[in-house]
C-alpha cells in the first residue's frame, strides 16, 4: 500500500491533530450539547424556521425525532400484533414466513459489518478500521436488537417463546435440538452477548477520557462508573489489549457462523428455493455486503454533521466500497449459480422455481427478482469506478440501493419460494399488510432512535485508537518517508 497510482498513500487521519484536539473533537460530541446543533437543516419551511428554536433544527434532532416516531409506530404494531395474533400480518397458507423473517435476516445481515470490522479487521491489523469500528459495532448491536424482536414476535404465542431456550423445567422438556430455529437462538444470543461485551470493553478507555474531561458532576460519576476504574496504567492497557484480542478471537467465527446458521433455517428445509447448499457462504457474503452498505450510509451524514472528515477519510470510503464490490460479486455469483443448477440439475421443482422467479409475464413475483438484480448487481457495478467510490453522494445512494436490494433478496427467497412449492393446489400469494410494514418501519425507527442516542451519549469514534494512530503516524513521520512501506505495525506491540 505504499502508493496508489504512483501517488503517496493517503494518511488515515487528515490534518494536524494533537491528542488534546482529538479528545476535544470526538469527546465533545458527547460532553458538549452544542455540537449537535452546529449543523443546521437548510430546507425548513419558512413558518417553521421562524418559530422553531435552533436546537430543533439540527440534524440530530430530526433523526432522533424520526427514530422516536418510529419507536412509537413499533410499539403500536407490536401491541396490535400481540393482542390480535399473527393474522394482522399478511402471512398465510402456504406462506408461513413473510416480512417477519425477511426483516430478521436483513437486520442480522446488517449487523455483520460491525463484527467484521471490529473483529476480523482487528486480527488482520487493519488500522483503517479504527475510525469506523465504534459506530459500526453500535450499529451491530442495535441491528441485532431489531432482528431479535422478529423471531420472538413472529411466533403465534410469543408469551411462550422462551420454550426455545434450554432451561430446566417441570415438563422435563428440552428444545428440539435438530431444529435450525434452536440453532438460531444460540447463534443470535451468543452473537448479541459477544458483540455487547466487545463493544463495552472497547469503550472503557474512552469512558475514562470522558470521565476526565467531563465538567458536570453527573457525567463524571456516570462515566467514572462505566470506566470501571480505568487509570491508564500499563497494567490497564495490558489487560485491555488481551481482553480485546480474545474477544476478537471469539467474534471472528461468529461473523461466519451466525449468518451460516441463519441460512440453515432455509437450507435445512425441503422447500424448493430454500434447500440450497451454497446458502451459508452466500448469506455471509450478502450480510457483509449489506452491512458495509449500512456503515457507509451512516458514516456519510455523520462525518458531515459532526465534522469528522479528518477521521473518516476518502480512503476509508474507498476501501469500504471495495469490500462491498467484492462481496457483491460473491452474491451475484450466487444468483448465477441458482439459475445454473436449476437448469443443470434437471429437477422439475427447481426449474419451476426459476420459472417463478424470472418469467416476467407468467410469474407473479418476477418483479421482485428483477428489482433484486437491479439493486444488488446492476447499480453496485458502478463501484468498479474509483471516481464513484470517492463520490459520497453516489456512494450514499449505491449503499441505499444495496440495502434495498438485500431486502429484496430475502423477499425473493423467503415468501416467494413458499408461494409455489410442491402441490399446485396450494400455490398462494403473499401480500404484506400495514402492520407488517408498520413493524418494519418501526424497527428502522428504533434503530435510528438507538443510533442517535448513542451518538449523543457515547463517543462515536474510538478516541484512544485515533490517538494511537496519530502516535504511529507521527512516529513514522519522525523516521522519514523512506521507512514507508507497510504501516500496519501492530499497535499492541508498543
Amino acid at each position: 500500500m505504499a502508493t496508489t497510482n504512483g501517488k503517496p498513500h493517503e494518511p488515515l487521519i487528515e490534518g494536524n491533530w494533537t491528542n488534546a484536539t482529538i479528545d476535544a473533537q470526538i469527546g465533545d460530541i458527547v460532553l458538549d450539547p452544542k455540537r449537535h446543533t452546529e449543523a443546521q437543516l437548510k430546507r425548513i419551511p419558512a413558518f417553521l424556521a421562524k418559530s422553531l428554536p435552533d436546537q430543533l433544527k439540527s440534524p440530530w434532532f430530526l433523526m432522533f425525532g424520526i427514530g422516536f416516531i418510529g419507536v412509537n409506530i413499533l410499539l403500536v404494531a407490536i401491541t396490535v400484533l400481540v393482542l390480535t395474533g399473527i393474522g394482522v400480518w399478511g402471512n398465510n397458507q402456504p406462506v408461513g414466513w413473510g416480512l417477519d423473517i425477511i426483516n430478521f435476516v436483513w437486520w442480522i445481515g446488517i449487523g455483520h459489518a460491525g463484527t467484521l470490522i471490529s473483529a476480523i479487521l482487528l486480527l488482520l491489523r487493519q488500522q483503517w478500521r479504527n475510525s469506523i469500528n465504534r459506530f459500526a459495532e453500535a450499529m451491530t448491536i442495535f441491528a441485532v436488537m431489531c432482528a431479535g424482536m422478529y423471531p420472538l414476535l413472529h411466533t403465534g404465542r410469543p408469551w411462550v417463546a422462551y420454550w426455545l431456550f434450554p432451561y430446566p423445567n417441570v415438563l422435563a422438556m428440552w428444545p428440539q435440538f435438530r431444529s435450525p430455529l434452536v440453532w438460531d437462538v444460540f447463534a443470535v444470543s451468543t452473537y448479541m452477548t459477544v458483540s455487547i461485551l466487545f463493544w463495552y470493553v472497547g469503550l472503557i478507555p474512552d469512558f475514562a477520557t470522558l470521565r476526565d474531561r467531563a465538567r458536570s458532576r453527573f457525567a463524571q460519576i456516570a462515566f467514572g462508573f462505566l470506566a470501571l476504574g480505568w487509570n491508564g496504567s500499563a497494567k490497564s492497557w495490558h489487560r485491555y489489549t488481551h481482553a480485546s484480542i480474545m474477544l476478537a478471537g471469539l467474534s471472528t467465527p461468529l461473523v461466519l457462523s451466525v449468518h451460516s446458521i441463519v441460512s440453515f433455517d432455509f437450507a435445512m428445509s425441503i422447500v424448493p428455493g430454500w434447500n440450497v447448499t451454497i446458502f451459508p457462504p452466500y448469506f455471509v457474503a450478502g450480510a457483509v455486503f449489506a452491512g458495509f452498505a449500512m456503515v457507509i450510509a451512516l458514516a456519510i451524514p455523520l462525518r458531515k454533521w459532526y465534522r469528522l472528515d479528518s477521521f473518516i477519510t476518502m480512503k476509508h470510503f474507498d476501501w469500504m466500497a471495495k469490500v462491498m464490490l467484492a462481496t457483491g460479486l460473491i452474491v451475484a455469483y450466487g444468483y448465477v449459480m441458482e439459475v445454473f443448477y436449476a437448469w443443470y440439475s434437471g429437477v422439475p421443482l427447481e426449474q419451476g422455481l426459476l420459472h417463478n422467479r424470472i418469467k416476467i409475464t407468467e410469474a407473479p413475483y418476477s418483479w421482485s427478482f428483477w428489482l433484486l438484480i437491479l439493486f444488488n448487481v446492476v447499480i453496485p457495478a458502478a463501484l468498479w469506478s474509483p471516481k464513484i467510490r470517492r463520490n459520497l453522494t453516489a456512494l450514499f445512494w449505491i449503499s441505499m440501493s444495496i440495502s434495498i436490494g438485500m431486502w429484496f433478496e430475502r423477499y425473493v427467497i423467503i415468501p416467494v419460494s413458499l408461494t409455489r412449492d410442491y402441490l399446485p393446489s396450494s400455490f398462494g400469494y403473499y401480500t404484506p399488510t400495514i402492520v407488517d410494514y408498520g413493524m418494519f418501519a418501526g424497527t428502522i425507527g428504533f434503530f435510528l432512535f438507538m443510533m442517535f442516542l448513542f451518538i449523543r451519549f457515547l463517543p462515536t469514534i474510538n478516541i484512544f485508537e485515533m490517538k494511537e494512530l496519530l502516535h504511529h503516524m507521527q512516529h513514522e513521520k519522525d523516521h522519514g518517508e523512506g521507512h514507508g512501506g507497510d504501516k500496519t505495525v501492530p499497535a499492541e506491540a508498543h
Binding site: 399473527i86 435445512m268 428445509s269 425441503i270 393446489s425
Partner: protein
C-alpha cells in the same frame, strides 16, 4: 366416673366418659391438631408469612374456575355415564325425504351427526348438509320465542287467536314436502276439522319435474328410483345424481360398487354425462359432453331415436353426435336391462318422461330403474301449489295462513309475488327455526324445534318409514315441532311422541308388547322394517316419445340451481357450509355467475384478472349484469372451465336479508353473502331461463373467496412431471398393470421422466417401525372419490375446526384439515383445452409421513412421531413458528392466525357444538389431521378392557365414515390382513410426491376409468 348424671350427656368412648375434662382442650381448639398462631414462634411465623406471600404470587397467575355459567351434572339421566358417549338413531329430512342418521350424544347433548349404516338412504355415509344440521341446532341466531309483529308473544295468546280464526274458515296450511305419515295424518285430520281448509306444499328445490315427468310417462304419480349397483351403462342427462338430491349418498355407494377397478376390471360400469356445468357426476364420468340445458332434450331424442324407442324422432341437431353418439347408443343397447338413463332435477318434465320411455324400451324398469308408489304423502307440483295459494291469497280467500317451515317470501317464484300477497292475509303465522324473511312478513313468528329436539317420522327415498328421535330437550323451551303445532291447532295436547306412537300403532296394527317391541327396534335401528314403497308395474303411455316438446332455449340460457352447500338458503347461516369449498369450483361464501371461458371472453369479462402479468390468488372477479324475466342483478363472474357455452349457471340460497349473523348479506369483503337470484325464477321457468341478457357491468370488481385458483396440472413447466394425479383406462390397466399410470416409477420409465427410486443416500428399510404395534395408514381411492365434500364437513364436525370467514379465506387461511384439491388436466392424448378439460379430484389430508419433514424443524418438539406411525401435534406445546407448515410439501398444516375459536369459547350455545374428545385450539398454534387419534384411543380403551387387539375396521376416521363412496380406507398395516394393507397392495397404489422421500402413510389408488374406445375414435 364423673359425678354428672345428666341423661342428655353422650360420650364418644370410654376415654371420654372417664376423663371428659381431658377433651376440653380439644374442644376449645377450633382446628385441633394444628398449630395455632399463638403457638408459633416469631421466626416460624415470619417463615410462613414469607412462604404465603411467595405462593400467593405464584398462584395468582393460575386460572380458577370461572365464577359463572358452568353447571355441574347434578343428577344425570338414567344411563348417562360421564365421559362415555352414546349413539341414537334419528332421521333428518331434506325435500321431504328422510335420511337416517346416528347422532352421537355426549352427556345429554348431541355432538355429531353420522350416517346410519342400517338406513337405506345412508348405509352409514352422509352428506355435508345433513352433517351440518348439528350446527343448525346450535345456531345462536335461532328463533327462541314466539313474536307477534316483532314483539314477544306467548303460545297461549297465539293458540287463542289462532283457534278463534279457525272457525272463520279460509284456512290454509303451507308446508314443505311431507313424507311423514304422522304429520300427513294430522294434517288430514286438521283439514277435516276446519272445513274449507287447504293444504299446500312448497319447497324451492323440489321434484316437480320428476313428478310431472312421471305423470306424463306413466299417467299417474309414480316414484322412480335408481339402483346404480345394477347398471352397466349409465347416461346422465344433466343429472348430478352423485352430488345432489336426496338419493345422492345412496347413489354414490351403489355407483362405487361398480367402480372397483381391482376387483372388477372390465366389469366396471361406464358413465356418460351430458351436462351444462361440471358437477361431481360429470367429473367422475368416463365420457363427459357439454350441452346447453335446452340441448339436453335434443340429446335424449337422438339417443331415443338411435335406440328405436317407439314414436321417437331425432331432433334436427344433437349436442352429442357422430361416433360418440353411435357408441353411446350401442353401449346402451348392448346392456339393455342393465342400464340407466337419468334426467336432471332441473330438466323439464318432457326430458324425464323421455328418459322413462328409453328405460322402458331398454327393459331397465324393474331392474336398475324401480317404479314404486310415491313416497311423499301427497305428491304435488310445488310450483303449481304455491301459485294457487298465491292466487287464493290475492283473491282474499285466505283468511289465516299457517306456514310450517320453509321460507316462501324469500324463495317462492317471482310471479307468485308472495310477500305482497301475504300482506293481504289477516292472520298469518310462520313456524321456523330462524326469524327469517317470511317470519318478518307474518303476523306471528313461531320458534320451531329442530329435528334433534322433537319426535316425528319421515320416509326415506325408498319409502322406509324412519323415526325422528329427539336427542335433547328443545334448547329454547318454547320451540314446537310442526307435528305439535298442528296437534295444538286441533285443540289437543298430545306430545310428538304420543302422536307418532299412536299413528304407528294404527298403521302397523301392532298393540301391547308387540308394539313396544316393534317401536324399540325401530328406534334402535332408525327405521321401521318392511315399509318400503310398493313396487308397481308401470308401463309408459304408448307413443309417449313422439309427443314430447323440445325444451325452449336460445340465447344465453340462465340456469338457476340449488346451491351445493347451502341448498335453497336454509343453510345460509351455517358457517361450515358457507366456508365449504363448493365441489369443482372451490368457491366459498358467495354465489357467482358461472360461465365458460368462451362466453366470458365474448362478454369481455374474466377471472382471474391479469394485471401486469400478475395472477392474483384469490381474486377480484369482474361483474356482469344479468337480466331476465324482468329482473336484473349484478353478479361476479366465475369462469368455469368445462361449461357449455352461452350458459350462465347461478345458485340460489344467497342474498338473504334475514338469515342471521353469518347468512345475511353483508359487506362483500367481510362475509359476502352472495346475491339473490330467486327473482329470476318464475312458475313457468323455475330453473332454465332462455334468452337472458348478460353484459359486463359497470359495478366493477367483486371479491370472490376461492380456496384454489384455476390451476392446470402438467400444463406449464411449473407443474410438469409431478404426477400428482394418476389415471389409466381399464384397457391400459389390464394390459400394463401398475405401469399403466403416468409417473409410476416401477419398471421401465417413460422417456424424459425422472426416476427417483433408489436415489436416497439413506437406508430405506421396508418397514420403518416395528410390526408389534398398530401402524396406522390410509388409502384414498381416486377412482371412487366424487368430490362431494362429506369428508371435509365430517372432519370439521369431529375435530372442532373453526370457520374463519370470507376475508380470511381470501387470505388463504381456511382451516380445513382435509381438503379436496381440484385439478384441470388435458384429456388423454390431447392438448389442454380450456373449453373441455379433464377434471380431477384429490382429497388431501396430513399424509402422516414416516420421515415427516415437519418434525425435525419444530424447535420445541410440538410435532412428534408416535410409535404407531402418527405424526402427532401437541397443541399446548406449540409456540407457532409455522416452520413445520413451510416445510410440509403437502401444505396440509393449518395455523390459527387469529383467535378463530373465540366464538366457540364465548357463545354458550356454540360451546355445546364442540366435540369433547378434541381440544379447541386457541390462537397461535398449528393444527392438522391426526387420523382422528381420539377415535383410535377410544378403540384402544375398549380393546384393552376386553384384553384383545383393536380389530380391523374398529377405528373409523371421521372422513372414512362419512365418505359415501367408501373411497377412504383406514387401518393398521402391521396387520397384513387388514383392509388397508390389502388396499395398499393394490397395483394402483402410489405415493404422492414420492421423490421427497417423506414415506407417507396415506397413499392413493390411481384412478382407473372406463371410456368407450369407440366413442374416443
Amino acid at each position: 366416673m364423673s359425678g354428672r348424671n345428666d341423661t342428655d350427656q353422650a360420650f364418644r368412648g370410654i376415654e371420654h366418659a372417664v376423663h371428659p375434662e381431658a377433651f376440653d382442650a380439644v374442644k376449645a381448639d377450633e382446628f385441633p391438631h394444628r398449630d395455632s398462631l399463638n403457638q408459633i414462634d416469631r421466626r416460624s411465623l415470619l417463615k410462613f408469612a414469607g412462604a404465603t406471600a411467595v405462593l400467593s404470587g405464584v398462584t395468582a397467575g393460575c386460572r380458577i374456575q370461572p365464577p359463572l355459567s358452568i353447571v355441574p351434572l347434578v343428577d344425570g339421566q338414567p344411563g348417562t355415564v360421564t365421559g362415555v358417549d352414546k349413539h341414537f338413531a334419528s332421521t333428518a329430512t331434506m325435500g321431504g325425504y328422510g335420511f337416517g342418521v346416528l347422532v352421537r350424544q355426549y352427556e345429554g347433548r348431541p355432538v355429531k351427526i353420522e350416517g346410519n349404516p342400517k338406513h337405506p338412504s345412508s348405509l352409514g355415509s352422509i352428506d355435508p348438509k345433513t352433517l351440518a344440521e348439528i350446527a343448525v341446532l346450535y345456531d345462536p341466531d335461532r328463533a327462541q320465542f314466539p313474536t307477534k309483529q316483532g314483539d314477544p308473544g306467548s303460545w297461549e295468546e297465539f293458540f287463542r287467536n289462532a283457534r278463534a280464526r279457525l272457525a272463520d274458515g279460509g284456512v290454509a296450511l303451507l308446508t314443505p314436502n311431507v313424507s311423514s305419515p304422522t304429520l300427513a295424518a294430522l294434517i288430514e285430520e286438521f283439514l277435516q276439522a276446519s272445513p274449507g281448509a287447504k293444504w299446500y306444499q312448497y319447497e324451492a328445490v323440489n321434484d316437480d319435474n320428476a313428478l310431472e315427468g312421471a305423470i306424463l310417462a306413466f299417467g299417474r304419480a309414480i316414484a322412480v328410483s335408481y339402483d346404480f349397483s345394477k347398471a352397466d351403462v349409465v347416461l346422465s342427462l344433466d343429472s348430478d345424481f352423485l352430488g345432489t338430491g336426496p338419493g345422492a349418498v345412496r347413489h354414490s355407494r351403489d355407483f362405487a360398487t361398480r367402480r372397483q377397478a381391482d376387483a372388477h376390471g372390465s366389469d366396471m360400469c361406464r358413465l356418460y354425462v351430458v351436462e351444462c356445468a361440471p358437477t361431481p357426476t360429470g367429473v367422475v364420468a368416463d365420457h363427459r359432453f357439454r350441452a346447453k340445458p335446452s340441448q339436453i332434450m335434443g340429446v335424449a331424442k337422438a339417443v331415443a331415436a338411435g335406440l328405436g324407442v317407439p314414436g321417437s324422432a331425432a331432433s334436427a341437431s344433437s349436442a352429442v353426435g357422430g361416433s360418440a353418439l353411435r357408441a353411446l347408443v350401442e353401449d346402451l343397447r348392448g346392456s339393455a336391462g342393465r342400464s340407466i338413463v337419468i334426467a336432471g332435477q332441473h330438466q323439464p318434465p318432457a326430458v324425464h318422461a323421455l328418459c322413462h320411455a328409453i328405460n322402458a324400451h331398454l327393459g331397465n324398469l324393474g331392474s336398475a330403474v324401480k317404479t314404486t308408489e310415491p313416497v311423499l304423502a301427497k305428491p304435488v307440483s310445488n310450483t303449481a301449489d304455491i301459485m294457487s295459494l298465491a292466487a287464493a291469497m290475492d283473491q282474499g280467500k285466505v283468511k289465516s295462513l299457517f306456514i310450517l317451515g320453509g321460507n316462501p317470501v324469500y324463495d317462492a317464484p317471482a310471479d307468485a309475488k308472495f310477500a305482497e300477497r301475504l300482506s293481504k292475509v289477516p292472520f298469518s303465522a310462520h313456524l321456523s327455526l330462524h326469524h327469517d324473511e317470511t317470519s318478518a312478513e307474518c303476523l306471528w313468528s313461531l320458534p320451531a324445534a329442530h329435528f334433534l329436539e322433537s319426535w316425528g317420522d319421515a320416509r326415506a327415498i325408498d319409502g322406509t318409514v324412519s323415526p325422528v328421535q329427539p336427542l335433547v330437550e328443545p334448547l329454547y323451551g318454547d320451540a314446537l315441532s310442526p307435528l305439535e303445532l298442528v296437534e295444538r291447532l286441533l285443540g289437543r295436547a298430545r306430545s310428538g311422541l304420543e302422536a307418532v306412537k299412536e299413528q304407528w300403532a294404527r298403521t302397523t296394527g301392532a298393540t301391547g308388547w308387540a308394539f313396544d317391541d316393534l317401536w324399540k327396534t325401530a328406534l334402535a335401528d332408525g327405521l321401521l322394517k318392511g315399509t318400503e314403497s310398493k313396487e308397481v308395474d308401470a308401463q309408459p303411455v304408448p307413443g309417449l316419445a313422439g309427443g314430447l316438446k323440445d325444451t325452449q332455449g336460445g340465447g344465453i340460457e340462465l340456469v338457476v340451481l340449488p346451491d351445493p352447500n347451502i341448498h335453497d338458503g336454509r343453510y345460509a347461516n351455517v358457517g361450515w357450509l358457507q366456508e365449504l369449498p363448493k365441489p369443482v369450483t372451490n368457491l366459498t361464501w358467495d354465489n357467482a355467475a358461472h360461465m365458460s371461458p368462451e362466453t366470458a371472453k365474448r362478454l369481455g369479462v374474466g377471472q382471474p384478472q391479469k394485471a401486469l402479468g400478475i395472477v392474483p390468488f384469490t381474486g377480484w372477479a369482474d361483474t356482469v349484469k344479468v337480466s331476465a324475466q324482468g329482473y336484473e342483478i349484478e353478479l361476479p363472474v366465475y369462469v368455469h372451465m368445462g361449461m357449455a357455452d352461452d350458459t350462465v349457471v347461478v345458485h340460489m340460497g344467497y342474498g338473504r336479508t334475514r338469515a342471521g349473523q353469518i347468512g345475511t348479506k353483508g359487506d362483500p369483503a367481510d362475509h359476502g353473502g352472495g346475491f339473490d337470484v330467486n327473482p329470476f325464477r318464475t312458475s313457468l321457468a323455475p330453473s332454465i331461463i332462455p334468452n337472458a341478457q348478460v353484459a359486463k357491468s359497470r359495478l366493477g370488481a367483486y371479491p370472490l373467496a376461492n380456496t384454489q385458483y384455476h390451476n392446470m396440472l402438467d400444463v406449464t413447466v411449473v407443474d410438469s412431471d409431478r404426477h400428482l394425479i394418476r389415471e389409466a383406462t381399464v384397457a391400459e390397466f389390464e394390459e400394463h398393470h401398475e405401469h399403466a399410470f403416468e409417473g409410476a416409477h416401477h419398471g421401465e420409465k417413460k422417456p424424459g421422466e425422472p426416476d427417483y427410486s433408489g436415489r436416497s443416500i439413506y437406508q430405506r428399510p421396508d418397514k420403518f417401525y416395528s410390526k408389534d404395534n398398530y401402524q396406522w395408514a390410509m388409502t384414498i381411492d381416486l377412482g371412487l372419490c366424487t368430490g362431494c365434500n362429506a369428508c371435509v364437513t365430517a372432519c370439521q364436525a369431529e375435530n372442532n375446526i373453526p370457520v374463519v370467514g370470507k376475508f380470511q379465506v381470501m387470505k388463504g387461511r381456511e382451516m380445513h384439515w382435509i381438503r379436496i384439491d381440484r385439478y384441470y388436466r388435458p384429456r388423454k392424448g390431447q392438448a389442454f383445452d380450456e373449453k373441455d378439460p379433464a377434471i380431477s379430484f384429490q382429497p388431501l389430508t396430513c399424509m402422516q409421513c414416516e420421515l415427516a419433514p415437519c418434525e425435525p424443524v419444530c424447535p420445541v418438539a410440538a410435532t412428534v412421531h408416535s410409535h404407531e406411525g402418527i405424526n402427532q401435534m401437541v397443541y399446548n406445546r406449540c409456540v407457532g413458528t409455522r416452520y413445520c407448515s413451510n416445510n410440509c410439501p403437502y401444505k396440509v398444516r393449518r395455523f390459527n392466525f387469529l383467535h378463530f375459536t373465540r366464538k366457540a369459547e364465548d357463545v354458550p350455545v356454540l360451546k355445546l357444538l364442540q366435540n369433547p374428545d378434541v381440544t379447541v385450539r386457541g390462537r397461535g398454534v398449528m393444527e392438522k389431521c391426526t387420523y382422528c387419534v381420539q377415535r383410535i384411543n377410544h378403540a384402544r380403551i375398549e380393546a384393552k378392557k376386553e384384553n384383545r387387539l383393536i380389530r380391523d375396521g374398529e377405528v373409523v376416521t371421521a372422513c372414512e365414515q362419512a365418505c359415501p363412496s367408501r373411497a377412504i380406507v383406514f387401518g393398521s398395516i402391521s396387520d397384513p390382513e387388514s383392509r388397508v394393507s390389502k388396499s395398499r397392495a393394490s397395483k394402483r397404489n402410489y405415493i404422492l410426491l414420492e421423490e421427497t422421500l417423506t414415506r407417507p402413510r396415506t397413499s392413493y389408488l390411481g384412478r382407473v376409468y372406463n371410456p368407450n374406445p369407440e366413442a374416443l375414435a
